[in-house]
Amino acid sequence: MVKISMTVNGKNVEGEVSPRTLLVEFIREHLKLTGTHVGCDTSQCGACVIHVDGDSAKSCTMLAVQADGSNIITIEGLANGEEMHPMQAAFKENHGLQCGFCTPGMVMSAIDLANKNGDLTEELVREGLEGNICRCTGYHNIVKSVLDGANAMKAAE
């Protein structure tokens, strides 16, 4: 067992994990933050995307020990109290979800995309979200949500 500590959604957390524990397991099972989903277990669907030190990462592909000392944000850490993050609000308002299982990962990827691109275009969103599978929607409202959310993020800056 290995002792690890990190900042998750602004709080310091500590834990003891086996060297093989995945980061997503640590988040879901130790920290009980179940908003981060597991869709494929193998780094392909994007349902498990979180932010590690400001970059989006598939948490099913990282070991918990790799995240030792880092700063992590999950879907639960986006809202400011009652107030949603602009990207969350955009997904809700644009009906950018159906079953909702892909949504947390989509929102996390979308925020990263918006952060890293000054001006998001539809083209950039299409390519940028390639690693996030949604089986319910046809992505139309998702793309709309991301563009709206990115605009709102800019406006809030």
Partner: protein, 778 residues
């Protein structure tokens, strides 16, 4: 606070029917608070289950040595067929799906044992220690092989009308051909999962990701040898179902319940993605043969079809699925002389199951292929041949199963879409473009759908609901339907809000639960809102009638003078807030709770004679797809899609548009990129999204124009005259397939018909380009 004091002055409630009310759980999905089965807090000491699966396609089990596995670290319990107190079966119909293999295995991935341990890693590690010896038997893996050996899960079925063979023999033109159509993995993003909690005596509670809680309940009870009343199934939401969670979740639920009862500990079975794809069934793949006779105009005079589908090792829902394929052999076309033979092949592969459309899309695929080929042969625009063969509105409108099509609107929809999509002009431009473009070729196609709504097994067309009003005027709603992303809970809540004329925030939707509404049907066949909406309306109306009577007595008025207004009731000149009326009714001992029930009227079917009215009504739509194909690599891209779809009077246009779009993309995926591939030993090699290509964001057409048909109104008395929407638009994906075929045809200047098999993967496209080029030369 505002939510607690409803506005009693406004003239329209928030969230009634026909409004764009957003998803009931939208806010929870975006902040990660929506709870799926795997997110429910795990009870102390819960066990994790791993399933041991067959590694060969067909074999006798010679011996099993599980002793080392049992002794492995953290293992609490091992189950095999010996440990099932009840019946070793989780099948929906025929009793041919063993929970654990008994003496023999019939496909790679078949469950043989379950091992439960403190963690999933320990369970998985233990499973590796099982030693199983097989005596391999010859395996039947393909439809062709099964057809040759006469290996079927049930008897072949024939539907015929008129004199197909005779009319084909005398027709001026005849085409005889065959086509292969692949299956499809549901790939619900939330994999199969169940968690069971043992209760007192013989009781058990199961949280199951299923579209059919009542069936899961029966199967769990059957396996445990307890009455149904001992088993409770609860399902709040699914992370997608698409039919894949109709029958087979009973396996996960049964195994987790068996472990829970055997150990007295809670137990969870969650399949990881690869195991899920190997162990659970998919859309049926088909082999089709056809012979069609037609005249110079392309009018079909006689047609004979052979459907052969791959059921897999057991029946599951194959009979109903293959029947639905037959029911859709006509799509929107008048086929006076037709014969369809249907074979349900038994193979040593996973048991195929429901997938959105349930055989319907496969049935439509064939007739659309036939029409397309007729048009190619006559050098006509396929659109013209389609229209030529459409059912009439008042005549030539009887289906091969003798049901009169009373609500035909395809003529109107086709005309409107042809115009709004600029089909003719674009087709001409595409032909011009192709003349000058050597490598990149464009194609376009317009295809229709008519989809029968109702379960074709008539007794399934029933639903129940339960509505309570509490004394503060808030409402709790429960029904047998499952929320899997399609917005069912929102729509049914809209119906209840509308009935009581209260804001939708006052209506709380609760998890589907077999102890609240019993004996329900699967949420399937697109019937969720039709049936549960009606049942909830019935429940609400019962209470509403009581309140109306009470208000009339209270104000000494007649019942006719009671008028329901937003958040209030007017009696003569007096107005009373809904909340006050409810409170007074309670004080006067009026019951504020009711069940509601609905059975779809008019339907009946005599399967033996293929006669009756299996469907309450039909849903219609049409799509135009344009594609760009690289004829050097086979790569292709959908560039524009226009869809016009009839959902009757939409209960919720935002949700319906989302359904149409998602269904189209799923249908196009099925016929283009999604290829399931088994090797010669019967092992599925495409068991993860790395090898199985699901449409991604970057695949989406840049230009997508989707509209609900404004004139839509259900001719039948459905819930607020809406129409079902879940499955029908999936069929529109067929237009993408034909557009690709059209682009390939341009390589030989439309001389040679590409005769594509589906899915039209890059590889198949490339092969078709080669084939047609060679044919053109010779």
């Amino acid at each position: 606070m505002s939510k607690l004091i409803p506005d009693i002055t406004k003239d329209k409630i928030a969230g009634g029917v026909y409004q764009n009310k957003l998803h009931d759980s939208g806010h929870k999905h975006v902040n990660g608070q929506a709870v799926y089965v795997d997110d429910i807090p795990e009870p102390h000491g819960m066990l994790h289950i791993y399933m041991g699966m067959s590694t060969v396609a067909h074999a006798k089990i010679k011996s099993m040595d599980l002793s080392e596995m049992r002794a492995s670290e953290g293992v609490a319990c091992v189950l095999t067929v010996e440990d099932i107190p009840g019946i070793n079966d989780y099948s929906p119909v025929k009793g041919d799906d063993p929970i654990f293999a008994e003496g023999k295995v019939e496909f790679i991935g078949q469950p043989i044992f379950a091992v439960a341990a403190d963690t999933i890693d320990l369970a998985r590690a233990a499973a590796k220690k099982a030693v199983i010896e097989y005596e391999e038997l010859p395996a039947i893996l393909t439809i062709a092989d099964a057809m040759e050996k006469g290996s079927y899960v049930s008897d072949p079925h024939v539907m015929a009308r008129g004199d197909a063979d005779g009319r084909i023999a005398t027709a001026k033109h005849v085409i005889k051909n065959s086509v292969e159509l692949g299956g499809q993995e549901q790939f619900y993003l939330e994999g199969m999962i169940a968690m069971s909690i043992p209760g007192e005596d013989d009781e058990v509670k199961v949280y199951s990701s299923t579209q059919h809680p009542s069936e899961v309940q029966h199967n769990v009870a059957k396996a445990l040898a307890v009455p149904d009343h001992a088993v409770t199934i609860e399902t709040r939401r699914l992370g997608g179902g698409f039919g894949g969670k109709e029958s087979q979740p009973a396996l996960m639920a049964s195994v987790s319940a068996l472990v829970a009862k055997a150990t007295g500990r809670a137990a969870k079975l969650r399949l990881d993605r690869d195991d899920d794809m190997v162990m659970t069934g998919k859309r049926h793949d088909f082999h089709f043969e056809y012979e069609v006779g037609f005249n110079d105009d392309g009018l079909i005079e006689g047609v004979s079809m052979l459907h052969a589908c791959r059921a897999g090792y057991s029946s599951d829902l194959t009979d109903a699925i293959a029947d639905r394929a037959m029911f859709h052999c006509d799509n929107v076309y008048w086929l006076p002389n037709i014969k369809v033979e249907s074979y349900r092949c038994k193979t040593n592969t996973v048991s195929n199951t429901a997938f959105r459309g349930f055989g319907g899309p496969q049935g439509v695929f064939l007739i659309e292929r036939i029409i397309d080929e007729i048009a190619a042969k006559l050098d006509k625009d396929p659109l013209e041949v389609r229209q030529k063969n459409f059912y009439g509105v008042d005549d030539n409108n009887v289906t091969p199963y003798h049901m009169t099509v009373e609500d035909n609107v395809i003529h109107e929809i086709f005309e409107e879409l042809e115009e709004s999509s600029d089909y003719q002009k674009r087709r001409a431009e595409i032909r011009e473009f192709n003349k000058h473009s050597k490598v990149l070729k464009k194609g376009i196609a317009m295809t229709p759908v008519k989809f029968g709504i109702s379960f074709t097994t008539t007794f399934l067309n029933q639903a129940g609901a339960l509505v309570h009003i509490y004394t503060d005027g808030s409402v709790k709603l429960n029904h047998g339907g499952i929320e899997m992303g399609q917005g069912l809970f929102t729509k049914v809540a809209q119906v209840v809000a509308e009935e009581f004329q209260i804001d939708i925030e006052r209506v709380k939707i609760t998890a589907t639960d077999t102890s609240k509404v019993p004996n329900t049907s699967a949420t399937a066949a697109s019937s969720g809102s039709d049936m549960n909406g009606m049942a909830a309306q019935a429940a609400a109306r019962t209470i509403k009638q009581r309140l109306t009577d009470f208000a009339a007595t209270q104000f000494q008025a007649s019942v006719e003078d009671v008028e329901w207004l937003p958040n209030r009731v007017r009696v003569g000149s007096e107005e009373i807030a809904f909340t006050d009326l409810v409170k007074q009714a309670y004080l006067n001992r009026i019951s504020l709770s009711s069940t509601g029930y609905y059975a779809t009227p008019k339907i009946h079917y005599d399967r033996e004679n293929c006669k009756g009215r299996p469907f309450f009504y039909f849903s219609y739509g049409a799509a135009v797809t344009e594609v760009l194909v690289d004829t050097l690599t086979g790569e292709n891209k959908i560039t524009r899609v226009d869809i016009l779809h009839d959902v009757g009077k939409s209960l919720n246009p935002t949700i319906d548009l989302g359904q149409v779009e998602g269904a189209y993309v799923q249908g196009a995926g099925w016929l283009t990129t999604e290829e399931l591939w088994w090797d010669q030993t019967g092992r599925l090699r495409t068991h993860a999204p790395s090898t199985y290509k699901i449409p991604a964001c970057s695949d989406r057409a840049e230009d997508m124009r989707i509209s609900l048909w404004e004139k839509g109104k259900n001719a039948e008395e459905t819930i607020y005259r809406s129409k079902a929407v879940g499955e029908p638009p999936l069929v529109l994906g067929i237009s993408a397939f034909h557009a690709i075929s059209d682009a390939i045809a341009s390589v030989t200047d439309y001389e040679v018909y590409p005769a594509l098999d589906a899915p039209a993967t890059a590889e198949r496209v490339l092969m078709a380009v080669d084939r047609t080029k060679k044919a053109a030369k010779s």
